[in-house]
């Protein structure tokens, strides 16, 4: 009972981080089940697993839960809460009670998303909720709106907290140029969140009043504009892609640099060119989600250029990531396996995005399985594998135990193979014209079905792999091999060098200060 109380009323950023982790893995598991339902329905034309409305309920839940309740909270919530304060040598967050508020808002949001699946007329508006459909549908769009409200508000509160923490609570000696990459990337992601989420909040709120209170914000017949919603939605939701991408990159930098005992290559370019560049460009490219929407031609060609230019800051980060491997001394643990897989995913996902940046290519590829495969590579697989990599990497920090088991390795290989088997075929049918979000496709050539067969098998292989990894975490948290030192990977970052595993209340035994010239990436031979 006391333990429960300790967790519920805790304002300790580490406990809150763990709550974020548990919540996001729960959302991940459930959204994963929804994904399997979707894949089963697409296995062949005429399947009867989830037709019509039921299919779109599953699609709604899969997307909303994966993005809003797993990827964003997993990366900014868990890593941001648990790791960030320790990495900068702070005792806790700037506003600990606000922090507790934010995690409980988040958990309520997850619960609401679950309830929305249990009520009659569950939302069927996908995670985008485009009007007029979301206003005209008989389903309960309100659940969608309130879920976005809760999760969005939680993100705003969390963002304020972490930004202030990093800005004001760094230990003496920890300068801006000595921050770990994870801190920079999470910080940039949260600045994006804080600036853009209110726009999404406003957009979905207007949806709510349109549907239930008779306003006409998005009703073209009465002076509204359906397209404006799409603009407002993607004005946040494209930057949201970077809210996911940047911290995932940050995790990779930590893992690869530490496991390779090699400092981050061209750190300042990665931060000031890469992270800053992505954050600055993130708000100027949203129209590539609306390439076929009938916006004026010149906006569409203009945003083609800005979208393509995203490749510059991303490219600089990629060069730094690759450069960190150069002349490294790589030691392979499971975290490093996942990180290596991420390098592959970011290449495939990023490069297949190039045709989608060009408006004249996109008028064919938009809304096909090609898009589906592209963003699953770059957003779903890349970021999910980065989360797993990070959890394996910091597992000894959180539990004082290793998660390096054969089970974990099997989980990795199944996930990696399954992921590619699932999504590679979708590129092919996508280019051939297979639309996304179709629960039936008997009007298309019969060979499409063979590709969907393969993709469905892949999804189950990947599902098995993810399940093994989750089992491995739970098992090892209680019965894993104990660590002999507080710094098993020989990192030079504060969370490993200056405190025990797991850190107690207040994080550090003594006040932290670091000497001039200290860097989290200074490795010394043992």
């Amino acid at each position: 009972m006391n333990t429960l109380k300790e967790w519920v009323f805790s304002t300790d950023h580490k406990r809150i981080g763990i709550l974020y982790l548990v919540g996001s893995f729960a959302a991940f598991g459930l959204a994963g089940i929804a994904a399997l339902i979707i894949r089963l329905q697409q296995y062949a034309p005429g399947m009867d697993v989830a037709q019509g409305q039921a299919y779109y309920n599953a699609l709604y839940f899969h997307a909303a839960a994966m993005i809003l309740a797993f990827l964003i909270p997993g990366l900014t919530g868990f890593f941001g809460n648990y790791m960030l304060p320790i990495m900068i040598g702070a005792k806790d967050m700037a506003f600990p009670r606000l922090n507790a508020f934010s995690v409980w808002l988040y958990l309520m949001g997850v619960v609401l998303a679950l309830i929305s699946m249990a009520v009659p007329d569950a939302p069927d508006v996908l995670w985008t909720g485009y009007p007029p459909y979301s206003v005209r549908t008989t389903a309960n769009t309100a659940f969608y709106v309130f879920t976005v409200h809760l999760l969005g508000f939680s993100s705003i509160v969390g963002a304020i907290n972490i930004i202030v923490t990093v800005a004001c609570m760094r230990a003496p000696g920890v300068g801006w140029n000595q921050l770990p990459m994870l801190v920079w990337t999470v910080l940039a992601a949260l600045v994006i969140n804080l600036i853009f989420i209110p726009v999404l909040g406003a957009a979905v709120t207007m949806l709510l009043t349109d549907k239930y209170m008779g306003t006409h914000f998005f009703d073209a017949a009465a002076g509204g504009d359906a397209l404006l919603y799409q603009n407002l939605f993607w004005f946040y939701s494209h930057p949201a892609v970077y809210v996911i991408f940047l911290p995932a990159m940050g995790v990779l930098f930590e893992v690869i640099s530490t496991m390779g005992q090699n400092p981050v290559f061209n750190y300042k370019a990665a931060v000031y060119g890469g992270v800053f560049g992505v954050a600055a460009l993130s708000g100027e490219v949203w129209v590539h989600h609306l390439y076929t929407s009938g916006l004026p031609d010149w906006i569409r060609i203009g945003m083609t250029v800005t979208t393509l230019l995203i490749s510059v800051p991303v490219g600089i980060m990629i060069i730094s990531l690759w450069g960190t491997l150069y002349k490294a001394a790589l030691r392979y643990n499971i975290a490093m396996y996942y990180a290596a897989a991420c390098l592959f995913f970011v290449l495939v996902g990023g490069l297949t995005g190039i045709p989608l940046a060009v408006v004249s290519m996109t008028v064919h590829l938009a809304k096909t399985a090609y898009v589906h495969a592209h963003f699953h590579y770059v957003m779903a697989l890349f970021s999910t594998f980065a989360i797993f990599s990070g959890v394996y990497f910091w597992f000894p920090k959180m539990t004082n135990r290793f998660a390096e088991t054969a089970l974990g390795k099997a989980g990795f290989w199944l996930s990696f193979i399954g992921a590619n088997v699932t999504f590679a075929p979708l590129f092919v049918v996508g280019v051939a014209g297979m639309p996304r979000r179709y629960w039936d496709y008997d009007q298309f050539p019969t060979w499409f079905a063979s590709y969907h067969h393969v993709s469905t098998y892949g999804a189950f292989i990947m599902g098995a792999g993810m399940l093994l990894a989750l089992i491995n975490f739970v098992y090892c948290a209680f019965a894993g091999e104990k660590c002999k030192s507080a710094n098993p990977w020989n990192s030079n970052s504060l969370e490993w060098t200056h405190t025990v595993s797991p850190p107690g209340p207040g994080n550090f035994l003594h006040d932290v200060s670091v000497p001039a010239g200290w860097s989290p990436y200074q490795y010394t031979a043992r």
């Binding site: 705003i156 004001c168 600036i195 509204g224 404006l228 407002l232």
Partner: protein, 279 residues
């Protein structure tokens, strides 16, 4: 959330009010009385927006010069269907448009748009046209961009009217034509982009419709036109433009996000100075 929204709402309301003051001052003419249900004459916009009247239709202008409809395209055009004969009641639609255009400051007649009035009354002649034009009072620049025309061939007026969904008929009892007071705004390509009704239009509506008619041809120097047109959206039900509320709400939210970022850092810095924080 509720509290936050109240803050946000207050902010947005302030912005919207500021924006509303402009158009609210503008006048619009009272609805002309008619015994016929005006909704009968409403143009079915779903069907007729985007249509392109036949470029080969030919007319004769006030100087007796023949020209084709295609010659009038190439820049935005306001098309009015009316008549010149004042035997019964005069048509007021031209005068209404002239009064509105007098107030439109942002768009220059001749450079940004032209006006074409075509008579659908078969009894109209070069004489009645000349008489009408002589009495027609608009500022010189507007008049210079305005062409009054008669159909060159019988049936051309009817064809033009049908192609844009314009309905009219002769009422023997009233001894006049019944027709909607409608202005059709055509793009440079010659496609109908917007219909406005003289009864409900304000100068602002005309200006916005002219900007709409420029479509993709907006030049970089006309960025203010673009910004203006973004602030308003067309209301099909009321037949006029209204403030684009969602845009301002969305923009207000963005400002809210940036402000909250700055405020949180400022508040923290102040508290840190006062030494209220554990460190």
């Amino acid at each position: 959330m509720v509290h936050l929204f109240r803050v946000r709402l207050a902010l947005v309301t302030a912005i919207c009010l500021a924006v509303l003051v402009g158009p609210a001052r503008a006048q619009w003419s009272p609805y002309s009385e008619s015994e016929v249900d005006p909704s009968l004459f409403r143009i079915d916009e779903g069907r007729f927006l985007g249509v392109k009247p036949d470029a080969a239709l030919t007319f004769r202008d006030e100087k007796g010069k023949a020209f084709s409809f295609g010659e009038m395209t190439g820049q935005p055009l306001i098309l009015v269907l009316s008549y010149y004969n004042c035997d019964g009641t005069c048509s007021v639609v031209n005068k209404d448009l002239g009064d509105l255009l007098k107030e439109v400051k942002g768009q220059v007649p001749g450079r940004d748009y032209r006006i074409l009035t075509v008579s659908f009354d078969p009894k109209d002649t070069a004489e009645s046209l000349a008489k009408f034009r002589a009495k027609f009072e608009v500022p010189a620049p507007v008049l210079a961009a305005w062409r009054f025309a008669l159909p060159a061939n019988e049936g051309d007026a009817k064809r033009l009217a049908d192609s844009i969904g314009f309905k009219f008929f002769w009422s023997p009892r009233d001894r006049q034509f019944l027709h909607p007071g409608v202005f059709a705004f055509l793009s440079a390509e010659g496609r109908v982009v917007r219909f406005l009704y003289s009864a409900s239009s304000r100068p602002l509506d005309v200006e916005l419709a002219l900007i709409d008619a420029k479509q993709n041809q907006i030049k970089p120097t006309e960025i203010f036109d673009l910004a203006l047109s973004l602030c308003y959206s067309y209301n099909y039900k009321d037949g006029k433009y209204q403030v684009n509320y969602p845009l301002f709400i969305g923009f207000g939210s963005l400002v809210f996000g940036i402000v909250s970022l700055l405020v949180s850092i400022l508040v923290y810095k102040r508290r840190a100075r006062k030494g209220e924080l554990l460190r």
